[in-house]
Amino acid sequence: MSKKVSKPRSISRRRLLATAGAALAASPLGVDLLQAQQAPIRIGMSMPQTGGLAGGGKASLLGIEIWRDDVNAKGGLLGGRKVELVVYDDKSSAAETPAIYSKLIDVDKVDLLFAPYATVPTAPIMPMVKQRGLLLIGNFSFQVNSKIGHDMWFNNAPWGPPDSWAASFLDIGQKAGGKSMALLTADQEFAQNLAKTAREVAAKRTLPIVFDQAYPPNTVEFSSIIRALKATKPDIVYVASYPPDSAGILRAVNEIGVGDSVKVFGGGMVGLQFGAVMENMGSLLNGVVNYNSWLPEKSMYFEGTKEFFDKYTKRAVEAKVDPLGYYLAPFGYASGQLIEQAIKKVGSLDQKALAKYLRENTHNTIVGAIAFSPDGERKETAVLQAQFRGVVDKNMEQFRSSGKQVILFPENLKSGELVAPFEAARK
């Protein structure tokens, strides 16, 4: 699927006529040059629009499309060249992306590349992009460049150093008086990566792990696991789960209880960032402290953030995507802003020069200032840890107001204090 946007650049009529006349009078090469100047800047990408990652992929793409429309409304880049997106559906599959990116590079001959949403579809294109020396803006993948070491990779996600995710959660738990930890994780790569860093951080801090279990995919009933976890009386419960399990775990916690010893519960539960899942879980979410990327708290509004969400909210209805769109959409927009700022400063599409600019500078976006470390990830983590408060059942709109997810970390974005212990925070 491809989408094209092109409008003539805005230069004076006299100058346009003069240029056109000169070009016509000149050789065919001159005509080609004129056409090249007016040609749009084409950004190619695959995006999961069907399959398991489709919910996130579509929201992310809508964010990028809003940026495209904004930048084109302002007259485009490089003296009037419009931006055009060339997008293919990768069906959430790692098997599809290498062929799609080969086509984007060799057949479509796009000017720049954006990565698809998520780790799995992105990982297989990394060697090819490195081999060809191409700039790639990453889209919420986790540690895909750690072994490849491509110096022209820039991830839009707020992850930062890999251990910061677990460290921030444990910080909150320890400050609340936590002296032991339980680890409940899905037996799946992403969750196990989180668990590994959590174990490392706990070992550094000599924080004893009293319960450490990985549950298999397709686990239906979590009552038994929660009862076993409760019996170990942990102070901090770090959960790294996937969407189907997150709901099952929280339901079992609500029924069985997790014990009065627990100060904080959550950390790495995937799914609790999406509107439909949050609406489904409703009051079960109360008290949970979990990661996120953007939330409607005062501290999270930067230049253009409000305008972006005004546009997103309207277009999300037509596009049938996450009505809230907090987790991915603004970061899709920020990807565009990164490349827009780089092109404006460099004044060309030279990929090496663009990469150098992105690496060496701090960039202001609608999700805050972004600076990259040599591995292309954020210099400092901006992953939020936030506590759900006062959530009621079956109400999507409540999540648009501040105070439903109070930011506890990072310090500069904090919007409230932890309510502990967990059982008290659930009420």
């Binding site: 398991g52 919910g55 549950y215 239906v220 009933e221 189907p244 339901r251 079960l284």
Partner: protein, 293 residues
């Protein structure tokens, strides 16, 4: 860490979980156990029923259990139509229909999955009812009400199906067709019509089982895949075609899974369940309650 309380709790939860597995496997026990139809789309039918229950609960605030009963006649008709299509296109045509039948039902399962995605999207869906999200305190043990509902429904369904198959004329005809189709034909009865009726019953049971599925946990369009192994495991372990055996086998599986999850570590749960199946089949190839061929 061993504790008697934990073990007791694991057994109680395991029995209830087993009843849930039994309820979602009973339909397959009829279609696969009695009729020899390789119904791998059974879990997809189950998920479809869950979405129908979700639709009624979300839009008309119908209690999930009532919604399950309401959709039962529709699923009965759906079962009749599915079997007729399967019979005309596959079963009628030869001895290798079994293998091709699997392809047919896989196809049906994928179509159902895609239709659900088109209609409801890829997100998880759940229902609301007073008995979801609360637990009953029994001393130190807390038992989720939704699992008690599963226990009651599974017991009722097993009793009803057992009585139907043993006491009614049509029920006995279904058992007869399972034993010897040719003998039935010689007596002037059309076995295809009886099998179609039985397949309708098997699918109708899924209406209420689908309600249980979404009561116990949220559903998503691909959830059926997770139940293919479990439901076939229960039916084969029970011995093909035994309703009470299906419930007992499911309880064994549920208790084993629950004890392993609680006492030995969650990663081992699926391996232990299927090891039990292999162990039972090694000792009794016809399953726990199956008759010797």
């Amino acid at each position: 860490m061993f504790s008697l309380d934990l073990l007791l709790d694991a057994v109680v939860i395991g029995v209830l979980l087993g009843c849930f597995y039994g309820a979602v496997s009973l339909g397959l026990s009829v279609s696969f156990g009695l009729l020899d139809v390789p119904h791998v789309a059974h879990p997809a039918f189950l998920v479809l029923a869950s979405y129908a229950v979700y639709f009624l609960n979300e839009n008309y605030a119908v209690d999930p259990l009532v919604a399950g009963i309401l959709i039962t006649p529709v699923f009965f008709l759906f079962g009749l139509a599915t079997y007729r299509l399967y019979y005309e296109t596959f079963e009628k045509r030869g001895s290798d229909a079994g293998v091709r039948g699997i392809a047919f039902f896989f196809g049906v399962a994928f179509i159902i999955e895609v239709l659900i995605i088109l209609q409801f999207g890829v997100d998880q869906r759940s229902v609301t009812a007073d008995y979801i999200g609360k637990a009953w305190r029994l001393g130190d043990i807390r038992i989720p009400y939704r699992l008690l509902v599963a226990f009651a429904i599974a017991t009722a369904l097993t009793v009803l199906l057992t009585l139907y198959l043993s006491r009614t004329f049509m029920g006995r005809a279904i058992r007869a067709v399972a034993q010897d189709q040719e003998a039935l034909r010689l007596m002037g009865t059309n076995p295809v019509k009886i099998k179609q009726w039985a397949f309708g019953i098997a699918t109708a049971v899924l209406g209420i089982a689908g309600a249980l599925l979404i009561i116990v946990a949220p559903v998503d369009p691909t959830l059926g895949r997770a139940y293919i192994g479990r439901t076939f495991c229960v039916v084969v372990m029970a011995g093909l075609g035994s309703m009470s055996g299906t419930l007992v086998a499911a309880i064994i599986l549920g208790v084993a899974e629950s004890i392993v999850l609680t006492m030995f570590g969650a990663s081992w749960a699926p391996a232990i369940s299927f090891a039990i199946l292999l162990g039972i089949l090694a000792v009794r190839p016809q399953g726990l309650f199956g008759r010797r061929p």
